[in-house]
Symmetry: none
Subunit: 210 residues, 4 copies
């Protein structure tokens, strides 16, 4: 039905409108200092309207992160399913990380803030579970790649999940630190170069020398 569809589309557009505004505000002020009114104003809506689309502030915040977490999961799984040896897959994985970052830089930083900060302690159990599930899935996919590599004798024999954790930590650590630096001293953004170097070092560090 045409009307049904149009309404659905409009609803989705509104959600987007709110999400876009929320991203800007959360980026600017962080979760704690951002007020629902700020976001409403940015979205050119009334505060009440936000609650038609999101249960509460936390839910809105989490939506931003879940979105990118889902994208991440899909992207990584894709890599995992591809053919090729482990090192080729690692390169693809690194490529995937760039993609994820490019997909939505603000959101990815938001995600790390969510993961690394106090916010985590105040989430609803349900949301926690969702995040947990999605994170675990991605880490597991990454770990599988390393596992293959270890079996193929191409990657050093460490616990694959530990390797995945380190890979993920390096990625998030660089992004957070680079964005911190930008805030602290307003320096130029070296994210891409640093991330590239970091992944190279990691790659070299886990490869078994022939």
């Amino acid at each position: 039905m045409g009307i049904q569809e149009r309404k659905e589309r409009e609803r989705e557009r509104r959600r987007q409108q709110i999400i876009v505004a929320a991203k800007r505000i959360f980026k600017e002020k962080g979760f704690g200092r951002a007020t629902m009114e700020d976001i409403a104003k940015e979205a050119e809506l009334s505060p009440g309207t936000l609650y038609l689309y999101f249960k509460n502030k936390e839910d809105l915040y989490a939506s931003l992160s879940l979105r990118i977490l889902q994208y991440l999961g899909i992207r990584i799984e894709h890599v995992d399913r591809d053919a090729g040896d482990a090192l080729a897959k690692l390169d693809e994985l690194i490529e995937a990380m760039y993609d994820v970052y490019d997909f939505d830089p603000i959101m990815i930083i938001n995600l790390f803030h969510l993961q690394s900060s106090e916010t985590l302690k105040n989430l609803s159990p349900q949301l926690m579970l969702e995040i947990n599930t999605l994170s675990k899935k991605s880490i597991a996919s990454i770990a599988r790649i390393f596992e293959d590599g270890i079996e193929q004798g191409m990657i050093i024999d460490r616990h694959p999940v530990a390797l995945a954790d380190i890979f993920w930590s390096l990625f998030s650590g660089v992004i957070l630190w680079e964005s911190s630096k930008k805030i602290i001293d307003g320096s130029k953004d070296y994210l891409r170069e640093t991330l590239g170097a970091a992944f190279n070092i990691f790659r070299k560090g886990i490869t078994v020398k022939k």
Copy 2:
């Protein structure tokens, strides 16, 4: 003057008492949810007293981080000054990082939260400057070690500051991610093992093969 000194010492002890309490509360609830009253209660003082020792909540919070940042700076500089080749120094540096973490695990996580989170955006310019100065100094010290290594042909030829940033990112990334995981799924704490593996990979990744 004896009296003067005693007063000074007592004042310092009070500050410590508050800082210890604040650490516990911030750890438990995060910065946003921790109230000054919580901290006062934990310190067995009245809320008003806190303001005799710290200008405001932010100032108190920052003190925690500055303290560890100072310790970090001193510890790294020490490594830098030591004799030995770059790789030996790198090992010492890694050792220093463990020390720093052990010195005050809560504080180090607090520091990363400060760096990586919304709090950063709401600091006073003065405090920002202080953090900036201290961070820069530490990164510079680390970078100098890598610089030596590059000159000595032991470390790959990359911009030393980039290497320092990556080293630091890896350290903070692993700590944040591991502590996140603990919150998310209550899993066992693998921090030491993961950190060890991470540094090994990093070391291997930046070393020039002979």
Copy 3:
């Protein structure tokens, strides 16, 4: 005009539909906590539609009470007009009260809540007047019965309006208290028995001994 009439009938049916829904919701949640959306949902209508039939929430609420108040008035007047001595009329009056209660238990409780609660203080003057008029009329009818009885020497010589007030107070008091008890401790519903005993006591209490 047929069309005119049909429209009128349909309009009235819609009103009924809303009133039925509102009763259920008010009963369940009380006036303060019931939302217009609750009622709309229950009536399977949209919130906006409610406003086509009732000026506002208060008007809707009052409609429930006025309706039973009107029924009460008619029913009592009927008793008053009947032949028979005062005591026979009193028995009829008591019978009428049961009828009124049975006519719509929810509404009668609603009416008492309206009378006895905060809602009363926030009614529009016009509505207040309507309630006042209807109440007065009923009380006056009851009082007339007692007046007859006093003249006939069958009922103790007290101000007839006072007797009417007491009769009414007893009725509402028992209903409210019994429904309170049900809410407080979920006990069995003894309303009928208690009401019966109460009226017997009242009857005995006002009768002049021969």
Copy 4:
């Protein structure tokens, strides 16, 4: 300790100050329409201060009612313990009801609103329990008086608890209806006379003729 005591007294006085203000506002506007700010203004305090003395709005409201409920319980028990036959005790009981009303007319009306209205449905379970316990105790005390009367052959043979319920219903019914009338038509206050007549009728209605 003098200071301790003085503080205690001052705290109690503040509580009273708030209670007095709350009573006025609740009386004027009812629970739903009264705002904490209204009460704060009436008490010449800031909104925040109210929360130093009462957990929340409901708690404040309930405090008013529990107070009178406790007084009621004590007063009735006292009657029950006195010597004298059942009819003498009934007279004392009636006297007690006047006392309770005089003790705090506003509060007693508040209590009935609490009992008879929607508020009841939204109380915390703990508060509900407290009200339940206190109510039950009072009703039981009243019932015991009637029980004695029945055994002594002075009072008609009905279930004593039913008699107690009717007695209580009559009391609350008259008070609510009279205060309603005052609101509705601003008529003179006939409460005392009506209550007196009501109790007389009740007394006569339950007495066994010799």
